[in-house]
């Protein structure tokens, strides 16, 4: 029995693919170097097992995942959105092929206001008559329509530091971008849901069919089905305005508004009926 053979078997025993044999046991008892090697294996096993931390998911993650997967395809949506979804699916395949051959895209930054930092599933940008793949690095401009398909996700970083995360089946129109003049960033959420993180130095207005959310230094979620919009504020505060009235929702509060009705008085806590779910989460800076 050589040290080499003994160590090979010791490693296999540690990996549970072999059983310690008598000769190796005897060798280890007589060879201090191999005994130290066996101890080292044991230490490695223990340290590996304890090295990985456990990360608790956000409290509302399961809820959001369930919503993203099972959100009913709203009957209220007009057939035009189904056409959009089909167009997105087809365009995504074509553009994915193009993207493979052209690599990461970097648009010439004429009138650009933000960058797609992550896109998966079906995500496209409709710019005039063009349909562009929502690939990483793609610049977005005022007038763009951002669309995610039923399995799509997209994350957008605006030049003022704001972050938008588009959920599946979402359509957002970019009406005005950060131009340095102090005018608010204006977006129009036409369908689906998004999370927005807006820094204190910027003002963002998100228009929906049943009202407009205006925020500064806030993190919130919006979801709309075309008739009703729900806004959940995670941090900061947001004003929700429509032609019938306005309310201010603070951290961990949510409000709902239907077309033609004033926004509901903001409620704390139980917000399971909206996209964000219950509770507030720690603020995370926009890292990209």
């Amino acid at each position: 029995m050589t040290c080499r053979d003994a160590r090979r078997e010791l490693a296999q025993v540690q990996d549970e693919v072999a059983v310690l044999s008598g000769p190796v046991r005897e060798h280890v008892s007589l060879c201090p170097a191999c005994a130290a090697y066996a101890d080292g294996l044991q230490v490695q096993e223990e340290r590996l097992a304890e090295a990985f931390g456990w990360a608790e998911p956000p409290a509302d993650l399961a809820y959001r995942v369930t919503e993203a997967v099972l959100r009913p395809k709203a009957a209220a949506r007009g057939p035009v959105w189904h056409l959009y979804a089909s167009a997105v699916a087809i365009a995504t395949v074509i553009l994915a092929v193009i993207a493979v051959f052209t690599g990461p895209h970097r648009d010439q930054d004429e009138g650009g206001l933000g960058t797609v930092v992550m896109a998966s599933g079906g995500a496209v940008i409709v710019r005039g008559s063009e349909v562009l793949g929502g690939v990483e690095g793609r610049r977005t401009r005022v007038g763009d329509l951002l669309i995610t398909a039923s399995n799509g996700l997209a994350r957008l970083r605006l030049d003022d530091g704001s972050c938008l995360r588009l959920q599946p089946d979402t359509i957002v129109h970019v009406a005005a971008g950060p131009d340095g003049s102090g005018r608010p960033v204006c977006l129009s959420l036409r369908q689906g849901g998004l999370q927005a993180l807006v820094p204190a130095t910027s003002v963002c207005a998100i228009d929906t069919p049943s009202g407009t959310a205006v925020m500064q230094g806030a993190q919130l979620c919006l979801v709309t089905d075309g008739l009703q919009t729900q806004v959940a504020v995670r941090e900061g505060e947001a004003r929700f305005v429509n032609s019938e009235g306005q309310v201010v929702a603070c951290s961990a509060e949510y409000t709902t508004a239907r077309v033609g009705s004033p926004p509901m008085t903001p409620c704390p806590g139980a917000s399971y009926r909206n996209e964000c779910g219950e509770g507030s989460l720690p603020s995370e800076p926009c890292r990209r």
Binding site: F52, A62, G121, E136
Partner: protein, 185 residues
């Protein structure tokens, strides 16, 4: 009432029972998220991977052929999503090293990174993160998720021998790189 098995929940999902899938999501979101968080480091990316994993699981629920826990199957999907994501990360100007710094969860929720072993743990996680994907993922499955070699093999679509061999080789690589950590005290 006895808890329904994952296989039962997925079977009912295929029959259109949305509540069954919601139960599966509630049961396994934390583990899928934790796996993704280790594999890609960034919490936002981990959330996206978790969401995409369940979207894919819902679409392909019929493909689940197991009778026990769906965790190996879900982690296999998550591993594929992480691999795709890491391709994006590599293309970004931001280095993986930057992502690793400060992004890792504490090893104990009641303690910060000031624990005596924190530096060693960080070294180990860095070394694991530097492993090729074919070795890194099985190591995370084995040591973080506690999967057996059979379950790792199921997740990765390989033979159990191949799974144990990958872990074995990964540990050899780690042993060489982190020789100072493995010496018994």
């Amino acid at each position: 009432m006895a808890e329904r098995s994952d296989a039962e929940l997925l079977r009912r999902t295929c029959e259109g029972d949305a509540d069954a899938f919601a139960e599966l999501v509630a049961r396994h979101t934390a583990r899928v998220y934790r796996f993704a968080r280790t594999a890609v480091a960034d919490p936002d990316d981990a959330e996206d991977v978790t969401q995409e994993t369940f979207i894919e699981a819902f679409r392909y629920a019929r493909r689940f052929g197991g009778t026990g826990s769906a965790i190996p199957w879900l982690l296999g999907i998550a591993a594929n999503r992480c691999r795709t994501l890491r391709r994006w990360l590599r293309r970004r100007p931001q280095s993986l090293e930057t992502l690793m710094e400060g992004e890792w969860p504490a090893t104990d929720p009641t303690a910060g990174n000031e624990t005596p072993d924190a530096e060693a743990h960080l070294d180990i996680r860095r070394a694991v993160a530097d492993l090729p994907a074919s070795y890194r993922v099985p190591v995370i499955m084995r040591y973080q998720e506690g999967l057996s070699y059979a379950e790792i093999a199921e997740a990765l679509g390989v033979e159990p021998n191949a799974a144990s061999m990958r872990v074995h080789r990964a540990k050899n690589m780690l042993r060489k790189r982190l020789r100072h950590l493995w010496s018994p005290e």
